[in-house]
């Protein structure tokens, strides 16, 4: 299923358009929505991390919500108890989570794909209880409340100069998150293009063959775990920033599943996939609650069921349908459609696969 997605060389202009879109976004939406988009970007980072693990190195994790929790709580504790500047805590949280992920990756080597899924799933379910326990440190059930960040003067001055409005806390959070997103995505893109990425893909596609070719399986697999945990840790830390508090209930097993949904629907083993997946994963629950009831063409009983059930029914159905009909996610659909369109325009007959596409030079 995780076929190497038939990709074309990166359309740099497209990337530029997308980046500009995100930079300009807060100027056209209200402050609250900027906060929402910040949370979506947080998911994108975590999903990118998961994608590195699942899509590129072929290891399943159903517990990345736990890594997000570690990152979030690290930042929260450092900021709240030790009065550290929150922004400074972000890389620390990421690093700590990354190291823990790396250490987790060591015993994970011995587990088959299924057992790894099982173990990480169990971890995700147990995480809220584990957080509640050391109550003095973690704030127990109530969690830790964080003060909304105050935008530094250089930022608010620049923003006011460009847009004529003051920079709100939510918007500042958005930009911080966006900065991290851009950096981390760029790093990921480089990772997969170069040796580490190739090694991981080789492992994913055939571990025995990769080992026979001299790839350090253990090294790269644990590295993948560490990196993906680092991403999740940073995402968790930014999540705390965006939402303003952390508590055990903000990291239920549903979060880990949400991340997996986003990774799969967006398209595993692709760079743009996590962004698409994050937008889907974040906005679907909100939209299904608000948008569906307004659509008169949906029969009343179905609409009210969807409304009452919340996102779960839609999530589940979308996940199942995606895996059956479009296992490469949105990115896969787009690329297959694009190459078919190109073929048709050029008059080349459709080439049914049976053959793996050549390894792209870039992702």
């Amino acid at each position: 299923m995780i076929q190497r997605i038939r990709t074309t060389p990166p359309r740099y202009w497209l990337v530029l358009v997308v980046v500009l879109f995100f930079i300009g976004l807060p100027t056209v939406i209200d402050s609250f929505q900027s906060g929402e988009w910040a949370q979506a970007l947080v998911l994108a980072i975590a999903i990118m991390g998961l994608n590195i693990l699942v899509g590129y190195s072929g290891q399943i994790s159903l517990g990345h919500g736990a890594f997000m929790a570690i990152g979030a709580y690290t930042s929260a504790i450092l900021a709240h108890r030790y009065k550290m500047d929150y922004l400074a805590t972000i890389p620390i949280a990421g690093l700590l989570t990354g190291i823990l992920g790396f250490l987790f990756g060591v015993p994970a080597l011995r587990l088959s794909a299924l057992y790894l899924a099982l173990a990480t799933f169990a971890l995700a379910v147990v995480t809220p209880s584990l957080i509640k326990r050391p109550a003095e440190l973690t704030g127990g059930v109530q969690g830790i409340v964080l003060l909304p960040p105050v935008p530094p003067t250089f930022a608010s001055d620049t923003f006011s100069a460009l847009t004529g409005t003051a920079l709100t806390s939510d918007q500042w959070t958005y930009y911080v998150t966006l900065a991290w997103t851009l950096v981390l995505f760029w790093l990921a893109w480089n990772l997969v293009r170069h040796r580490a990425g190739r090694a991981m893909r080789a492992i994913r596609d055939g571990e025995v063959a990769a080992a026979a070719s001299g790839v350090n399986i253990a090294g790269y697999k644990t590295l993948a775990f560490g990196i993906s945990a680092l991403y999740a840790g940073i995402a968790g830390s930014l999540f705390g920033l965006a939402v303003g508090f952390v508590s055990p209930d903000t990291f239920p097993v549903a979060l880990s599943i949400q991340l997996l949904v986003g990774a799969v629907v967006g398209g595993l083993a692709s760079i743009p996939g996590p962004i698409i997946g994050a937008i889907f994963a974040y906005f679907l629950p909100i939209e299904s609650n608000q948008w569906v009831p307004t659509q008169t063409w949906i029969p009343g009983s179905i609409a009210s069921t969807i409304e009452k059930a919340g996102p779960a029914v839609t999530y589940g159905a979308v996940l199942i349908l995606t895996m059956i009909f479009a296992p490469n996610g949105v990115v896969g659909l787009v690329l297959t459609g694009y190459s078919r369109l190109r073929g048709r325009l050029r008059g080349v007959p459709d080439r049914e696969s049976g053959q793996m596409p050549p390894d792209p030079h870039t992702v």
Binding site: G310, G316, L319, I324
Partner: protein, 293 residues
């Protein structure tokens, strides 16, 4: 000593509940090498069906049997509709689909039945009886008895009937079975149906204890995972033994290990899973698999 025995007995009872769900997992694993992450949610939904029947005045045991039949049919339906299109897909795809199924069923249950926890009737009284100086409740003994009957029935079905034989053949030797006229694809569906029915027993037995609501099986499935992993994921006997061990261990840990308390019992299950996977990945009764290169 008394308390210890009581804990052991009630541990065996919860163990029976875990064993039923674990057996469901083992059945599907044997049939297609997949751990069905939706097993708990399927059991929960079946329990809601039982609840609805009983709430409309039906006799408990009649509702029990009908629910098992409905669960059986539901399992077959799910296999035919959702699993069949992707029967030969890689394991990650199947895992994700079962997760999607779990999410879907959970949401469906929430929207149809609501999230308010409900009391679920038990056919056994909470009176206690004196065994070897310890007090054991009829509730616990009843659960043990029901679990034992169900597990025995599955054993007899699989080992001593032609249908069970063809199911086992299809599970272990699909191609060779086809050459003997076995409809392998339908055996898979049957496996799902059976697993669903067995799993629903677990839901019906646990509901009186923890209150019926859509999320009730989310912790139970973890215990069932621990039981299945401990017993050996391919071994039905292992599921039973593993279930009992997990049930008793968790009970004892909750009382005798002060830092565990009530809320970290689940962590004990996680610890068991981790310990088994690290020390003896094939579990108590599993066989080491040969990796074909």
């Amino acid at each position: 000593m008394q308390e210890f025995l009581q804990l052991v007995v009630s541990g065996i009872a919860t163990g029976g509940i875990f064993a039923s769900l674990a057996l469901a997992l083992v059945l599907i694993y044997n049939a297609m090498g997949l751990v069905n992450f939706a097993q708990g949610e399927m059991a929960m939904f079946a329990t809601f069906v039982a609840f609805t029947l009983i709430a409309h005045g039906m006799n408990y045991w009649l509702a029990f049997v009908i629910t098992l039949v409905v669960a059986f049919a539901g399992g077959i339906a799910i296999e035919r509709v959702v699993i069949r299109p992707i029967e030969r897909a890689p394991i990650l795809t199947l895992v994700i689909v079962t997760l999607g199924l779990a999410t879907l069923i959970n949401g469906l249950a929430g929207s149809i039945f609501g999230y308010v926890p409900r009391a679920f009737p038990s056919p056994f009284s909470v009176q206690t009886v004196n065994i070897l100086g310890a007090l054991a409740s009829f509730q616990d003994l009843g659960v043990i008895a029901v679990s034992a009957v169900v597990l025995l029935a599955i054993y007899l079905l699989l080992q001593h009937t032609t249908v069970g034989l063809t199911m086992r053949a299809a599970a272990h030797h699909a191609e060779a079975s086809r050459l003997l006229g076995v409809r392998v694809s339908w055996m898979l569906a049957l496996g799902w149906g059976l697993a669903s029915a067995v799993g629903s027993v677990s839901g019906i037995m646990v509901a009186p204890i923890i209150l019926l609501e859509p999320n009730m099986m989310q912790t139970i499935i973890i215990y069932a995972f621990a039981a299945a992993v401990l017993g050996g994921i391919e071994s039905p006997l292992g599921a039973v033994v593993g279930g009992v061990i997990v049930g008793v261990t968790v009970n004892l840990a909750g009382v005798y290990l002060p830092f565990v308390g009530g809320d970290l019992q689940l962590a004990v299950a996680l610890a068991i899973i981790v310990a088994v996977l690290v020390l003896k990945p094939n579990g108590l009764f599993g066989r080491p698999t040969v990796r074909r290169v």
